[in-house]
């Protein structure tokens, strides 16, 4: 750079970009509308601990013990009793066609065998094709049964109750004691929203100049590439700020997601994340030949961001190779960072590792992008 950075020219590019953004109403609405829509959909619609699952009962016996168990299952809110089946075949059919997620089978002579101490078995037939849907309810069941037994098997029947275990286990759920999915999903959404809009908007905005030929006009003037880039990208950083603001308000008011950590750590984290996404958008713009391609490649990067980052599914549950891929995705580290800050009360030192990871990824992206950018000029 033989000549110094011209602030006037940077400002001119910035102004131009704002005017264009204002005129492109569809994109403008998308930038604010899409994040709100995503927040509402993901925040309200997604529940990884499903309740009120349709359940049928096949009652070959009826008595106080079985009634107590069924009542207790009902009050747990996991199971929603919707009717009775009279044969195993009918139960199986209900599971197969999806009208029921569970069929509880109380065997013949159940009450009698309980009294005789023969340890009869209740069958819970579950549609386990979706492990996440069945898992919570199944896990809850043994607790329900234990409680019922200790309450119902008292007095003369006390001998049938199981002996209490020699020690107790106390579970203390930190950070999200109610186990609300939205508390986990909503902070992660900021990673997805910023990633989607920042990457795509930057890529499209730059490719648009090339596709329309205006880039040629630009580089024929004395304007420096650095002035063009900063001037073009700055407005979208601001969009990122607005999105983050919207996110904070919505997550607080609608979903009651706490924010217990250091605001400063949050500020540093999301700024760095915005920059890494802009850099990725910039890189895509050097590859894509048209706005259409830029859009497609941006969407392509969105998929791993959602699936492999730990946003939708627990990161630790993925096989090693998937974790390896996941750990080069910026969103993975930003997710950890923001969950730590918002839910766990982390400050800057706690997120230093995540910041370092994002910085490293950014350096690589910027390096490749700059190298490619120089090539595309010629």
């Amino acid at each position: 750079m033989s000549w110094p950075f011209s602030f006037a020219r940077f400002l001119a590019v910035l102004t131009k970009e704002f005017i264009q953004m204002r005129r492109d109403k569809v994109t403008f609405v998308m930038m604010i509308g899409v994040p709100i829509m995503q927040l509402l959909i993901f925040g309200y619609a997604i529940n990884s601990d499903p309740r009120n699952l349709p359940t049928l009962v096949e009652m070959a016996d009826e008595g106080p013990v079985s009634r107590a168990i069924l009542a207790s299952m009902d009050t747990s809110t996991y199971f929603d009793f919707e009717g009775v089946v009279t044969s195993p075949e009918e139960g199986e059919r209900a599971l197969r066609d999806g009208t029921a997620s569970f069929v509880v089978v109380i065997p013949d002579g159940f009450e009698r065998d309980v009294v005789r101490g023969l340890r009869p078995q209740i069958l819970l037939a579950a549609d386990a094709s979706d492990p996440a849907a069945a898992g919570g309810a199944v896990a809850a069941l043994s607790g329900i049964v234990d409680t019922v037994l200790s309450q119902t098997m008292s007095g003369a029947l006390a001998y049938t109750a199981p002996a209490p275990p020699p020690f107790g286990v106390v579970v203390h759920k930190f950070y999200n004691p109610e186990g609300k999915t939205s508390v986990n999903i909503v902070p992660g959404l900021l990673a997805v929203i910023l990633s989607l809009t920042m990457v795509m908007i930057t890529a499209v905005a730059i490719v648009r100049e090339r596709e329309k030929g205006t880039m040629e006009t630009l580089i024929a003037t004395p304007v420096r590439p650095f002035e063009v880039m900063t001037g073009k990208i700055m407005p979208y950083v601001l969009v990122g700020y607005v999105q983050t603001g919207v996110f904070l308000v919505v997550s607080r008011i609608l979903f009651g997601v706490p924010f217990v950590g250091s605001p400063f750590a949050f500020f540093v984290g999301f700024n760095l994340y915005i920059v890494v996404n802009l850099a990725l958008g910039f890189l895509i713009s050097t590859v894509a030949k048209s706005q259409m391609q830029a859009m497609q490649v941006s969407f392509f990067t969105l998929l791993p961001t959602i699936l492999l980052s730990g946003f939708m599914f627990p990161f630790a549950a993925m096989p090693n190779w998937a974790q390896t891929i996941g750990s080069v995705i910026p969103a993975t580290h930003f997710l950890r960072l923001i969950r730590k800050v918002m839910l766990k009360g982390a400050d800057l030192i706690d997120i230093a590792g995540d910041l370092t990871a994002i910085t490293l990824i950014m350096l690589v992206i910027v390096g490749v992008a700059l190298k490619r950018y120089r090539q595309t000029l010629d």
Binding site: W3, R9, A12, K16, D24, E216, T217, A220, T221, P222
Partner: protein, 312 residues
């Protein structure tokens, strides 16, 4: 040398992949001249212009533009050159005023507001200044683009097919404007493939398939090729055209309505052909001075397509 020429390049070469798009190109554009740059589509005109104004780095060759080195002083060249792209490449979603203002800011034009205002008045677009550029007609777009690349008062204008797809009236206006600028001392290098525009130029260079075929003052070009032309009129001109095309001594036959221009480089042989046909049929044969039009059709036919060779 730099006193005399606005552009002076030697051995300019550009290779894209395995195609030599511009092959050892030499050119000298005198200051204040209107220099026509002719050649068929894809012959390397745009690439050459881009190299001369510092948009592309040549793979070989040297040169100066306004006394500045095209390899090392690209930034300074950009400050003093107005470059108009082939396709309209201002912002369609900005207004006319915003476009001019933006370009003026890129060049850091002093007293910018006044300059933009004056440009709008010169254009005759003052009352439509707030109209989006994308809604302008083709002719107006060209004029706006010219105004934009003149906003910093450059001493050299590079116009890349400025009148492609513009109606004849707008083209004439455009050329009037170019001559006005030239009269003020601005050097203009303009690429085109309209022959009627070539005639307007002081100098002409003809490029085909990346190689310069000929260059010189416009009126000398036909003589430089050594072309001799007969003008033929008469009945059944179509049949005669077919017959002449198969004559080995006839370089080319160009038809203009009911008139044929029969050209060749061998004066004697061509005359023999003329006499032969004159004796046979009742057509009127007249020796005429070869013009640019014939000259370029002749050049085109003779040029070999080295890109085809590369593709094989």
């Amino acid at each position: 040398m730099t006193e005399e020429f606005a552009i002076s390049v030697k051995g300019l070469t550009k290779v894209f992949g395995d195609r030599t798009v511009v092959d050892h190109f030499d050119m000298e554009v005198p200051k204040g001249a209107i220099y026509g740059f002719l050649g068929p589509n894809g012959s390397g005109k745009t690439t050459t212009i881009r190299m001369m104004c510092g948009l592309l780095t040549p793979d070989g060759g040297t040169g100066q533009c306004l006394g500045l080195d095209i390899l090392s002083e690209q930034e300074a060249i950009k400050e003093n050159v107005g470059y108009m792209t082939q396709k309209f490449s201002l912002y369609e979603d900005l207004t006319i005023r915003e476009n001019l203002d933006f370009i003026a800011r890129m060049y850091r034009v002093p007293s910018r507001r006044e300059r933009v205002k004056q440009a709008l008045i010169d254009l005759g677009l003052s009352d439509r200044a707030n109209q989006l550029a994308g809604t302008l007609s083709g002719g107006w777009k060209q004029r706006l683009a010219l105004a934009a690349c003149m906003i910093h008062d450059p001493s050299l204008l590079l116009l890349d097919e400025p009148t492609a797809g513009v109606d004849p009236k707008a083209r004439r206006d455009f050329w009037d404007e170019i001559r006005r600028l030239s009269a003020k001392g601005v050097t203009v290098l303009v690429s085109t493939h309209y022959m009627d525009e070539a005639v307007q130029c002081d100098f002409i260079a003809y490029i085909a398939y990346g190689k310069k075929l000929i260059a010189g003052p416009a009126r000398d070009i036909p003589k430089m090729i050594g072309l001799h032309t007969w003008q033929v009129t008469g009945p059944d001109i179509g049949d005669l055209e077919m017959a002449l095309r198969s004559e080995p001594d006839v370089g080319q036959v160009a038809r203009f309505g009911q008139v044929l221009h029969v050209s060749g480089t061998d004066e004697k042989a061509l005359e023999a052909v003329a006499n032969r046909y004159r004796a046979k049929q009742s057509h009127k044969w007249m020796l005429k001075e070869a013009e640019l039009e014939e000259a370029f059709i002749y050049l085109m036919a003779g040029a070999t397509d080295n890109f085809l060779g590369a593709a094989k």
